[in-house]
Symmetry: C2
Subunit: 191 residues, 2 copies
């Protein structure tokens, strides 16, 4: 039941916005009583906190799995971008809520979640750093700034990418990683 | 006066959110009467429409200037990313409102603004396409998908970049463009 309320709320917050959705809307969509809602959640913010935590915890768990497999930095980075793009199909509304509704969390809750967001970014930076150490990647570009570039490419996809459109997830990942790894310049072209 | 109301509203919408800001808040911040507000704007959405239009019109104007200068695709692309990053310092709140509050526009207004957002992206794709035609860029990657990658890198910066931090706008642009043009792989590294 808790899961069902979370799923409906994610959809409502994602489509209409957090502020625009009432507990009554959530309750009506699930054909519940308010009593049942309050059995599982303290208030509407409590639901938002759960959505944020589930989303970032799931990303971190997937990221940890990728890092634990001990492959090259190159392969780890590709898998992380592939994972983020794959999540669009399955978690588009959670992502919308995550990117857009953070400011509706109280300071205390933001203080819980923000370090996890930062950890996700720092893990990407660590993989790049590791690739630099091992001679896979160039050493003249800051790993932290590159991690934001990679994250920007992947996260921005949530705002425009249609998984059922002309370009599939695998092809999109390949185009992005070709750019990230090798760049778009024609080799030997003089600029 | 209209400009002043727009500036205050941009700040309030950017910091608190559109939904959370009342006309009374806007009026109080400017020490105006509601009468004055309604002389310039029909309602709160009308203010939001103006902010969206100003923001995208200004980006398009700057982009057109860059394209009109007839430089290489390489230089045009760099200038566009530099321009977007430079706008963070001057227009952070407008950007926040632009990225986050679009759903509060009525359908009619969204229909006005969305084509301009698309045009901005398509112009980037055209510059990349032009670079491919002229042999500056590789021809094996889709220009449209690359334009979303470039836009993602630049637009994501609005969510994390501190212009007064350790890395200045010029340096950040250089790191991003090095990655976009040449990639992060160590040359001759075998993956």
């Amino acid at each position: 039941m808790k899961e069902k309320i979370l799923n409906t709320s994610t959809e409502l917050f994602g489509k209409r916005g957090f502020q625009e959705t009432s507990i009554q809307d959530i309750v009506s969509s699930n054909q519940l009583t308010k009593g049942t809602f309050y059995y599982y959640f303290k208030n509407k913010e409590d639901v938002l906190v759960h959505i944020h935590e589930q989303f970032i915890d799931s990303l971190l768990a997937q990221q940890n799995e990728i890092m634990a497999e001990g492959r090259t930095a190159h392969d780890q980075l590709r898998s992380m971008v592939r994972m983020l793009i794959g999540n669009i199909r399955t978690n588009a509304n959670s992502a919308m809520v995550f990117f857009r509704e953070m400011r509706h969390l109280s300071q205390a809750k933001t203080d819980d979640i923000l370090p996890k967001r930062h950890l996700f970014q720092r893990n990407i930076a660590s993989v790049i750093e590791q690739g630099i150490q091992l001679g896979e990647f160039r050493s003249d570009l800051r790993a932290d700034m590159l991690s934001f570039a990679v994250l920007g490419i992947a996260n921005w996809s949530y705002f425009w990418y249609e998984p059922d459109g002309e370009v599939g997830e695998e092809e999109l990942t390949t185009i992005f990683m070709e750019m990230i790894f090798k760049g778009i310049e024609e080799e030997n072209h003089d600029n």
